[in-house]
């Protein structure tokens, strides 16, 4: 697990931790069932409060990214449908961003783009 904390970021530290773990789960860098470091271990490594780390893990657990087993630790959760959907949505978003960038370069207007999208969406469904 790779986590980098920025002290100058306006985001709370627990959020920075949770976001980075989430990204690594979505990208597949952290695999299903893989053990995460213990809360106290991670807090020590990152030089942050135990409570901060605990809150990050709680957040991840609430969103279904990790499971915590009393006495055993925390693990990357078996990926559920929502999670997969979120993963795929992100992929679509990236591709759309690419298309928008390309369109801007070519001077294609928003209206033209909408039209294109409507056409494509209509044809495929």
């Amino acid at each position: 697990m790779r986590i980098i904390i920025s002290n100058s970021s306006p985001d709370p530290i627990y959020e920075q931790v949770a976001r980075q773990v989430k990204a690594q789960i979505i990208s597949g860098e952290l695999r299903e069932g893989e053990a995460l470091p213990s809360i106290r271990r991670l807090a020590q490594d990152l030089q942050i409060s135990v409570i901060t780390t605990k809150r990050a893990y709680e957040e991840l657990e609430k969103e279904g990214f990790i499971d915590t087993v009393e006495g055993k630790g925390s693990f990357v959760a078996m990926q559920n449908k929502e999670l997969l959907r979120e993963k795929k949505m992100k992929l679509v978003e990236e591709k759309m961003a690419e298309a928008v960038d390309e369109a801007r370069l070519l001077g294609i207007t928003r209206a033209e783009l909408d039209e294109m999208l409507a056409l494509l969406y209509g044809e495929k469904s």
């Binding site: 709370p12 530290i13 106290r40 807090a43 030089q47 409060s49 135990v50 409570i51 901060t52």
Partner: protein, 288 residues
């Protein structure tokens, strides 16, 4: 959450100073920082927990045990590090250690030697020849060698350079890898606490201003800044202190979100550091 220390309505009066019904808990398994300006009552609280001075009222429990009635047991489980370590000046470290070890059932000599190694101290060194930082480390090594469940320290980082301080703080973090261990230390060096503490208790003029999780404090407290005209401190939601200069007004708030909501468009609203909080409450014009 189990509490390592429970302090209820603790009172102590000196001429010109009173610890006034102080109540707070230190949760087991965490590091709590006790902050406040000099003379706020930090040392008095720690001395009362250790029963080094007589209290005028209230109650202190350590691991659920009354600190007066169960004093021997309480003391055997506490490692106390003074702001200025006091040991026989002319003795070697190993001689001091063997004398102290007699008082503790759980003294672990191997652990003690490992700690000295860690801190780059030699058992043959004479105490008075150590620098202040080395004395501090020796004192901590003694506390850790008898496997104390609670480490109590009074201004352990005062007068130490950043490298020493970092080393000490790292040791404390490592200690609470074991969730039965607890640390309470006082400091006026707020950056040390911002780095390492899980909870912060702020005391000022013998009263507790707050005792809460550090993250919670750093997320809810803020400083609102504005050009001098047009805004009064009392217009800022949650105002706790202010400072006016010729060109600007700064207001400390304990409710940054509300302040931002009401005044965000015409002021600058930043998070407050522990230092900001300490400064505004002790030096600025404090608001109730």
């Amino acid at each position: 959450m189990d509490q390592a220390i429970e302090i209820k309505k603790l009172r102590k009066e000196y001429r010109g100073f009173a610890l006034d019904n102080v109540t707070f808990d230190v949760p087991q398994g965490f590091i709590m920082g006790l902050i406040g300006p000099n003379g706020a009552g930090k040392t008095t609280i720690i001395k009362l927990v250790m029963n080094l001075i007589r209290r005028d009222g209230g109650e202190v429990r350590v691991f659920g045990l009354d600190n007066l009635r169960c004093e021997p047991e309480v003391k055997s489980r506490v490692g106390f590090v003074y702001d200025i370590p006091r040991f026989p000046e002319d003795l070697r470290l190993r001689t001091i250690a063997s004398a102290i070890s007699a008082f503790y059932d759980k003294w672990n000599d191997n652990r003690f030697r490992d700690l000295l190694d860690d801190f780059r101290l030699a058992p043959s060194q004479v105490f008075k020849k150590l620098s202040h930082g080395m004395k501090m480390k020796f004192s901590l090594a003694v506390a850790l060698a008898h496997d104390a469940d609670l480490i109590l320290m009074d201004e352990p980082t005062a007068g130490l350079d950043p490298v020493f301080r970092f080393e000490l703080l790292t040791k404390l973090r490592a200690l609470i890898q074991d969730e039965r261990k607890t640390v309470l230390f006082s400091s006026h060096i707020t950056s040390d606490l911002e780095r390492v503490a899980d909870f912060i208790t702020f005391i000022h003029k013998g009263r507790i201003i707050f005792s809460a999780a550090k993250d919670e404090i750093l997320e809810t407290w803020g400083v609102v800044r504005t050009a001098a005209d047009g805004l009064r401190p009392q217009d800022v939601p949650g105002a706790r202190g202010s400072r006016r200069t010729e060109h600007s007004l700064e207001v400390l708030t304990s409710d940054l979100a509300a302040a931002k909501g009401r005044l965000g468009d015409r002021t600058v609203c930043d998070k407050a550091s522990l230092e900001d909080i300490m400064f505004f409450i002790s030096k600025g014009n404090a608001h109730a």
